[in-house]
């Protein structure tokens, strides 16, 4: 008994040492930030996104993409003589944790925020950032409310814009007439797109013959929805969802013998990898509106993809990574435009300067050429891609 007890106590001691060690590291790191800023002129950028939990892949991709851009910029001498540093915090795709992460970053002396990655946490953090007047640039928070405040801008398309864009594209190019939709009714992104797609489709005289919903708790079996769609005689299936579920839908649809065209939004990027080499043929002919595709053949994308692969064990960058990458370069452009050279500038002053600069800059990023207006919405054209021979090509 005594042995067991001493073992347990020993473990506990080691653990406390670990924990207090962590605490110990934290304090000097925070105060060290100020010192660094004074001597080396480092501008601390905050980042927030899910690094754990079900949405972790998005947060990790944004973080990796952003870190790549930061490293590139620092290697090239920084921005106006200032080095950049990215402090990326986990929010577990939860609004409450996201606000906690934001507070922690503010304590650490963050000057501006890249984030948050996911929509709902972004809305909560945006309210806090607006109150503190901290510049917020979300790489991929696509809900409308994310950027309703003056200090907030975004890189990706908003959900409604994607829905409208998709309906317009289908109507203008006469891709199909009878449309079926499968969307995730428990997801902000999916529901937001579907809502506007539905409204726009009615205006463009497209017929929606079936609209089937699923939730994140029932995201594995789509046979009921697919059977209904088969019965409805649709000739196009619109999938405003993420690639994980879309891959399942493609597999189950092919088993069911459903013969329709597929059309999706930027969430479908990554579907080829999700299906894997042996099933990649299922994705043939899938159309998607996306600002980024890793194997597009323009020079910028190829350079980015190569650098990303080299930095992260041959991982293929997703649209999220591209958004993160572009966010950092956008910040760089805005800082240069505003002529900020003092890394000790207060976050609020920096915000005022950057908000003015944002509407004047043009960024030619890997997700397209972007300009912004005061609403914070980026102006860029979605690229329609089709999957052909296992890779994306422009339509």
């Amino acid at each position: 008994m005594k042995k067991v007890l001493s073992m347990v106590l020993a473990v506990l001691f080691v653990l406390t040492a670990f924990v207090s060690c962590g605490k110990g590291n934290e304090t000097p790191a925070v105060s060290g930030e100020g010192n660094n800023a004074a001597t080396e002129a480092t501008l601390l950028l905050g980042g927030i996104g899910p690094l754990t939990g079900p949405a972790a892949s998005y947060g990790q991709a944004v973080k990796d993409g952003a870190q790549l851009a930061v490293d590139e910029i620092n290697a090239a001498g920084g921005v106006n003589g200032m080095k950049l540093e990215l402090n990326f915090q986990d929010d577990e795709h939860d609004a409450e944790k996201s606000v906690n992460a934001y507070n922690a970053l503010m304590d650490a002396g963050m000057k501006l925020l890249i984030g948050t990655v996911t929509s709902n946490p972004c809305v909560a953090v945006a309210a806090e950032a607006a109150e503190d007047n901290v510049f917020l640039l979300t790489p991929s928070g696509s809900a409308v409310e994310c950027i309703k405040n003056d200090n907030a801008f975004r890189i990706c398309f908003s959900d409604p814009n994607q829905g409208i864009g998709a309906a317009d594209y289908i109507a203008e190019n006469a891709v199909a007439e009878k449309i079926a939709v499968i969307y995730n009714s428990s997801d902000v992104y999916s529901q937001g797109i579907y809502e506007k797609f539905n409204a726009e489709a009615a205006e463009k005289n497209l017929t929606i013959v079936a609209a089937e919903a699923f939730t994140k708790d029932s995201a594995t079996d789509f046979s009921v929805q697919l059977q209904k769609i088969k019965d409805s005689g649709a000739d196009l299936l619109f999938l405003p969802i993420y690639y994980q579920e879309a891959a399942l839908i493609l597999e189950q649809a092919s088993k069911l013998g459903l013969d329709v065209k597929y059309f999706g939004c930027d969430g479908l990027d990554g579907i080829i990898d999700q299906l894997g080499a042996d099933k990649a043929a299922l994705a043939e002919g899938v159309m998607l509106l996306t600002p980024f595709a890793a194997d597009a053949d323009d020079e910028k994308t190829q350079k980015f993809t190569a650098a990303y692969k080299a930095a992260y064990n041959d991982a293929i960058p997703t649209q999220f990574a591209a958004d993160g990458y572009d966010a950092i370069y956008t910040v760089k452009a805005a800082i240069e435009k505003a002529g900020i050279t003092d890394a000790n500038i207060s976050a609020s002053d920096l915000c005022d300067a950057l908000v003015k600069a944002m509407v004047e800059i043009t960024v030619d990023g890997v997700t397209g050429e972007m300009t912004w207006d005061a609403s914070g919405e980026p102006e860029k054209t979605p690229k329609a891609m089709v999957i052909k021979d296992g890779s994306y090509s422009a339509m």
């Binding site: 605490k23 606000v99 809305v123």
Partner: protein
């Protein structure tokens, strides 16, 4: 367990809890006023209070009445949405948050309590694990309902729908405002929660719950928990006793939800999932069933721990899990308990340490 119960019977023990809450309140508030508090510290206060209240409320069911409830997040969800909706609708008419917020708290609590009553009617007559099954289902149902609920106002008045399609068929006319927008939830809840209000609510809740536990009804609940047949033989109306505890738990769960939702600008129903119920249950189990002070401490520690561990980056959730497992093992191990008893016994022979030295 029996020994601990007899201690919590004593009124003196209640006053220690109240005193502890007041001391914490005064201490933290003066720390806040001094301006030395970091933003993380300030930001953690309100959610911690909300979770403490939710965990204390759950303790009424799990600890006091001995039934397993897996639906605390569902009651929080009801409270959060009802409270937020009320605040949004009355933001213009009742401008003073000090009047509006208590009303929201009360309303959220009452509606959650009504739901608790409705569920309790069939379930609390049964024996065994039925409550766990039904509350689990209830939590999921509530989450799904709020996930699909649309409430908007336009020139024709308030409109409620369970699908976005309803608004496409008959679009909102004129000055349209969404209050609840399906999966996108409620945005723009006025941030009325303050630390002072939270602590006052917590204190009131502690007074009510602890007095209840020491009351005739409370004793009846515990008697029914320890031996249902004996309690029935003694003339205790078991269903009524359990129902009182359950409805009270639902009420305070709802109040906790209102506190929670008025701290964040955006609120979505998927937050209140099964995992949150389990999290609150973990707070209760670790703090000690039937022990309100233990629950307060365990909730605070477990909620703050992942935030304190942020500096460890990728390892923090790993360490959180390890700490959780070690604490569970330690508090449950006989040798450690004996050791803790020896230590505390040396200091104070009569009183037993409440969590067996979990820290």
């Amino acid at each position: 367990m029996k020994k601990a119960l007899s201690i919590s019977r004593k009124a003196g023990d209640r006053y220690i809890t109240y005193l502890l809450l007041i001391v914490i309140f005064v201490g933290v508030q003066s720390f806040l006023n001094s301006g030395a508090a970091s933003r993380s510290f300030k930001g953690l206060l309100i959610p911690t209070c909300a979770y403490i209240l939710a965990a204390m409320a759950l303790n009424l069911v799990v600890g006091v009445s001995g039934e397993l409830s897996l639906g605390q997040a569902g009651f929080m969800c009801v409270g959060a949405f009802v409270g937020s909706l009320f605040s949004l609708l009355t933001e213009a008419t009742i401008a003073n948050p000090l009047i509006r917020f208590p009303l929201a708290l009360l309303l959220g609590g009452v509606v959650a309590g009504i739901f608790g009553f409705l569920i309790g009617i069939p379930v609390l007559r049964l024996r065994g694990d039925y409550l766990a099954i039904v509350t689990l289902a209830f939590g999921e149902i509530i989450k799904t309902i709020f996930n699909n609920l649309y409430i908007a106002s336009d020139d024709t008045g308030l409109r409620i729908a369970f699908s976005v399609d309803a608004f496409n068929e008959k679009p909102l006319a004129g000055n349209a405002t969404y209050y609840i927008k399906g999966a996108q939830g409620i945005n723009g809840t006025p941030q009325d929660s303050t630390f002072a209000i939270c602590m006052i609510v917590l204190l009131i809740a502690a007074v009510i719950m602890l007095n209840f536990m020491d009351s005739k009804q409370g004793r009846a609940v515990m008697a029914a928990r320890d031996n249902r047949i004996a309690a029935e033989a003694m003339g205790v109306n078991v269903t009524r006793a359990k129902m009182t505890a359950f409805v009270m738990s639902a009420f305070f769960g709802g109040v906790a939800g209102v506190l929670y939702s008025h701290n964040l600008n955006s609120l979505i129903a998927t937050k209140f999932d099964y995992n949150l119920s389990i999290l609150i249950l973990v707070f209760v189990v670790l703090g000690g069933m039937n022990k309100m002070r233990g629950v307060m401490i365990s909730t605070t520690v477990l909620y703050i721990l992942p935030e304190v561990l942020r500096a460890l980056k990728d390892y923090r959730m790993l360490i959180y899990a390890i700490v959780l497992i070690v604490m569970m093992l330690l508090t449950n191990s006989k040798s450690v308990r004996a050791f803790a008893e020896k230590v505390t016994g040396a200091l104070k022979p009569k009183k037993k340490n409440q969590t067996g030295g979990a820290e």
